[in-house]
């Protein structure tokens, strides 16, 4: 079954993941510990978000072994979020464009391989793909959320800017349009 074991992220992806979970922001106040706020609470939050961002930007990445950094997500954490993880897995399998497949094949891949014993090989490939998206997403998130951010206020503004922009994009509006409307 999927997401039943510990999962170890290595190299720079581990570093990024930790950074995003670490009390990411430093305020300009005197007590840095106190004023820090986590961008994400848990590793698994980053993990799940990462697959989204990987898919959104169609970005995958191979495991990085350049550094010895490691981040381990434990089976316990997966147990709590298993539904969501399976959901995201199937979504990734359905929306992946990196392999040439008919929609029916994608459905089979998404819904059948994880339960079919004779498809274990394929399932492993799928999981690798999934984790490749995770790694790509981690890179994407790291770039997006931490770019130019030093203080907690920076992170606050950055996250909200991303949220807002994202929202606008979903609604088909652009940030520029917003500005124009506000100015207009």
């Amino acid at each position: 079954m999927v997401f039943e074991n510990d999962c170890t992220i290595t190299g720079k992806h581990a570093t990024y993941l930790k950074f995003l979970v670490q009390k990411a922001a430093k305020d300009d106040s005197d007590d840095p510990e106190k004023s820090q706020a986590p961008l994400f609470e848990r590793y698994i939050d980053v993990y799940m978000n990462a697959v989204i961002w990987g898919l959104l930007y169609s970005r995958t990445a191979n495991s990085d072994t350049d550094s010895a950094d490691r981040a381990r997500i434990y089976a316990d954490a997966f147990a709590n979020e298993r539904d969501n993880c399976v959901f995201l897995y199937r979504m990734a399998m359905l929306l992946d464009e990196t392999t040439e497949m008919t929609p029916e094949e994608k459905v089979d891949r998404a819904f059948r391989y994880d339960t079919q014993a004779d498809k274990a090989e394929e399932f492993k490939k799928n999981m690798d793909l999934f984790n490749a998206y995770v790694r790509g997403g981690i890179e994407q998130m790291y770039e997006q959320f931490t770019d130019g951010c030093l203080s907690r206020d920076d992170y606050l503004d950055k996250t909200y800017y991303i949220l807002k922009t994202f929202k606008n994009e979903i609604e088909g509006k652009s940030y520029e349009e917003d500005l124009a409307r506000m100015i207009g």
Binding site: A37, F40, D45, F87, E104, V107, R152
Partner: protein
Amino acid sequence: MLIKSLKMENFRQFKGTTKVDFSCDPERNVTIILGDNTFGKTTLLQAFNWCFYGKVTFNQNPDFLLNFEIVAEMMPGDSKNVEVEITLIHEETEYVISRLQRYTFHGESVKGEHYPQAKVSYKQPDGQMESVKDVQVANVINNILPEELSSYFFFDTERVNSISTRKDVADAVKGLLGLSTIDSAIRRLGKRSAKTTVIGKFYSDMDMDGDAKAQDALNKIQTAEEKRNIIYEQLDENASQIKHYEGRKEQLYDILRDNQTTASLQKKKEELESIILEDQRALEDTSRSYFKEFSYGSLAFFAQPLISKTKVFLKEVKVDDKGIRDLTKPTIMELIKRGRCICGNEVFEGNDAYKHLMEELAYVPPESIGNTVRHYREKINSFSKPAERTFESLTERYESILRLKTRIQERKDEVSEISEQIKGKENMRQYEAEVMDVKTRIKKLNERKVLLIRDDAAQKNDIDRYRKVYDSLLAVSGKNKLTMQLIQYAENIHESLTQAYKDKEVIIREKLEKKVNEIFERMYHGHRRVAIDQKYQVSLLTTVADKEIAAGESEGSNRVKNFAFIAGLVALAKEKIINEGFEEEIDISSEPYPLVMDAPFSNADETHTANISKVLPEIADQVIMFVMQKDWNYARTVMSNRVGKQYQLNKVSETYTKLQ
């Protein structure tokens, strides 16, 4: 005092009237009354005693003086008198002293009246007799011959024998020799501790307590004044402190008035800073909430485009979904294995139920994914649902954060502006605190001032009170001063008298001893000496190997010693003793006294009797002796030329003696 005569009326055995005239002739100054034992010699002596002092010391019927023969003649209702009358010369004045007791036959017996009174009369220079008032009688008699001294002039046999060993002899000697005047003067002056004496009275008159009180009052006044001085100093110090703090208070008020704006700005700044702090806390909380919500809500939010894409994908793809929901291959295989369906039909290979189940296998996962996909579609709908809310909530929080930031910034700006305004001006709060402190200090100082003033008033009251006490005691003190002077005088006199007394006493004792020894030598026919100690105890000394030792005393030598002593006393009394210690001479020369002796020669041998008989008339002014015939025989040879009068007692009966 010289005795001229003794007249008795029915006194004991002297029935009727018996009159004895005593020789007052200086040359023949001896009166001899001869009589053997029981003839009434002792009665004669008692007659003197009774007349002078109303006392007798008879062995039998001492209270009954009336002659028994008279008594026997008395009839019921009869009265008889007992009377003794003595005529004497004292200080060149003739006195007549008489005592009468009336006896009455009353009922069955004769009884004498109580308390027979004496009468005294004296001859005035013009020859007229003058009676002494009854109340003065005892005094006059006592002046002539004090009772306590009388026994030294009226000697019965026993008393002659014991004279030199009597303990009161010292007083008797002093009285006899006139020393008692000084002695009594000394006694009268007394000392401070004896309250009945002059000095003691003066001393007790003194208000020593008052003096002590005055000193005490003075001390208290001084103490109170010292205290007042300290209080004044404290008041001064207090006043200067109050002045200092009042000044400082004014200064502080001025500063606070001038900086009222500053103070209010200061206050506003502090209020703003407080609000800023609150806002910062709210900002912190909101920020945390924002990030937390972002962490949880971001997944669904960012997944939205993918969700839409997945929806579209699954809509377009054909998925067989005829299978029973959630029915899986293992479930069917389990039913076949059990051999009975849920509906109860038997299942075995080849029957209808078996066939149906096998058909169903095509529609259950993993062979069929219809159910799973259908499930997934539902999950898609629910998954993205929180996204909308997440955005709104995060927006709210974000805006809230922005507002807080703005507010904080605005207030920080305001604070900086205020800080700029009050920059360089001191902290008003510090001055306000100082004002409070100064006010408290002034209050305390004023309270202390009140206390000090109260204390001062108390001290002043004390001073006034003690001054009154002191002034009133000062008057007492003046009196005390005078009394003290009197005491000084009295004590000086006392001292002088005591000294004079001691000097004289020594002289007298020496003279007495000398005199007694002179007489003793003339009376005693051996080689012995008489010694008189400080207590006038007389003892005989004999010289053995150049050392005087107390000699054994025989009846005879003792009698001679006593006579010598008595004679010495009387002889000395006749001399004028001059003490040279005084500026003015004090004349303590004594009045001449008679020597009345009962049986003086008993127990004395022939020689001694002769010696005594020779000496006595020389040393005494008047000698009256009651002598037994046998003794008189020895005495007569040496004494007869000095005898002025001689009587014979004739014993008529046991109750009647006649004098011839």
